[in-house]
């Protein structure tokens, strides 16, 4: 087995993300309602359901096309700040994978860089601001230290989870939670948690694929 992902992999990954977000809906809503408006799980679940449907409908899925329909669903179905940010992440990765049928470890590394840069340009948040960036940024860094996709995904997953957990002690600088000031301390940021879930799902998918489950 080569160390790369093709269009079918991406379609299967989106399917896995759809299942993961559906399962995590209530948890993410609950996190969001502590400081925001309680819809983060709902919105992500709806968007990934639509992304999954659109990805399945693709005639000949490529990494780019799968990520592009996913970005469209996140932008226009999910809406809101997190729709724009998640949409930007997937859109930038989609562009980065342009013209590749199989994407490798170094393609992933470049795409994650582009995605993170897009999210930060759009949302202006840095690590420490109690947003999804607190999971995404360390995941991107950790991925690069991995020797292959498996190692990279595993490292990114662990880093994202750790980053999300750390948001519990932060004061929010962005999103609705920012208006809570000190009261934000003690709550994990919903977007950081969902971002950690994205990397967890990616790692699980790839582990399953390596063990021949898909």
């Amino acid at each position: 087995m080569t160390d790369s992902m093709n269009g079918a992999d991406f379609a299967a990954l989106i399917q896995a993300l759809n299942a993961a977000m559906a399962a995590a809906k209530a948890e993410l809503n609950a996190l969001d309602s502590a400081l925001g408006d309680g819809d983060h799980g709902e919105a992500l679940a709806a968007a990934f359901a639509e992304a999954d449907e659109k990805a399945r409908a693709l005639d000949k899925p490529t990494p780019t096309s799968v990520l592009q329909v996913t970005a469209q669903a996140l932008l226009n179905r999910m809406g809101g700040a997190s729709g724009a940010l998640y949409g930007t992440l997937f859109l930038r990765m989609s562009s980065a994978f342009k013209d590749r049928d199989d994407v490798t470890c170094s393609d992933w590394s470049a795409a994650l860089d582009a995605g993170l840069a897009g999210v930060q340009a759009r949302g202006k948040a840095s690590p420490g601001d109690k947003t999804m960036v607190d999971a995404l940024a360390p995941a991107v860094d950790a991925f690069k230290a991995g020797a292959d996709l498996a190692a990279g995904f595993a490292a990114a997953r662990a880093a994202a989870a750790a980053g999300a957990a750390q948001t519990e002690r932060m004061v929010a600088k962005f999103g609705r939670a920012k208006f809570a000031g000190e009261r934000a301390i003690g709550h994990v940021d919903a977007g950081a948690r969902s971002m950690a879930l994205v990397f967890e799902t990616l790692d699980e998918y790839w582990k399953g694929r390596e063990h021949g489950e898909t």
């Binding site: 309602s33 819809d39 226009n76 809406g79 809101g80 700040a81 724009a84 609705r176 809570a180």
Partner: protein, 336 residues
Amino acid sequence: MSVRKKKLINQRETILRDMLQGLASAYPEVVRLTDDGLIVRAQPKAAGKVGLVIGNGSGHEPAMIGLVGEGLFDVNIPGEIFTAPGPDRIVAGIKAAERGAGVLLCVSHHAGDLMNAEMALELCQLEGLDNVEMVVLYDDISSAPKGSESERRGTAGLFFVWKMLGAYAETGASLAECKRMAERIRDNTRTLAVALTSCASPITGAAMFEMPDDEMEIGMGVHGEVGLGRHKLLSADATIDLMLPRLLEDLPINAGDEVLVLLNNSGSMTLMELYILHRRVAERLAQAGVRRYKSWIGPYATTQEMAGFALSLCRVDAELKRLWDAPCNGAFLKGV
């Protein structure tokens, strides 16, 4: 205190569709619902005038679907409950508002609204739609300190912008003039809100936040975001006495200036309470030597059935007073 869990809807997946169809069914002489879910004027604005567009999360009715019509907005892009619409829908709204003199995309300052508006403008540029401007509006003094006005949130006081900008665009003002007018009204507007109770999200069915029976929140956001802090419940007069000085201090205002007053019902306040509150507002303004031009008391931007209100002031001169008094015809707003 528990929130009202019972809502008269059909299913939560169809709330937006059902609501928009219901609005359109009631006011066909005022608005039309397009196939792509935009609320547009039944009689488009005369050609050669600037189109006014806004997108926003739903759940705050009558904002903004009730403010489309003559002398108000040309197009509203209603997003899902509490969720700004995505860039593609905003671009569709901009196109629908174009009458040959350009389009002003109004953004009530919230992260989601701003990000999606920015993406929409990038898409417009890609498509060669270049007579489009964006104006970002804010008024809530509880969301950032004086000096950092542009970080503040857009809340109930933007009503003043919508009403007067709507009238201004009808006069045939240019796109640049409309944008400047929006900024001018914004810069003369300040808002502070309080909430007595939470409300249930129509999506999750759960309370948006928790609120003890004997407290009130000062500086509550339009989505139920926690605000500046909790207070023991005050009397009506004491509540105004706490709010009004902060607004007067923040607003560039001098004795002898004239203001418009808004008491916006965030959901289930009674008019009885709002009138009682207004009594003190009028009394205190008079004591401060500030003249009250006119008042608007009622719901305009709500957060479901939350009990609370926003107090907004807008400093006006002769030109703005004329715009305030100009006719308008939205589903929810007939004159003022």
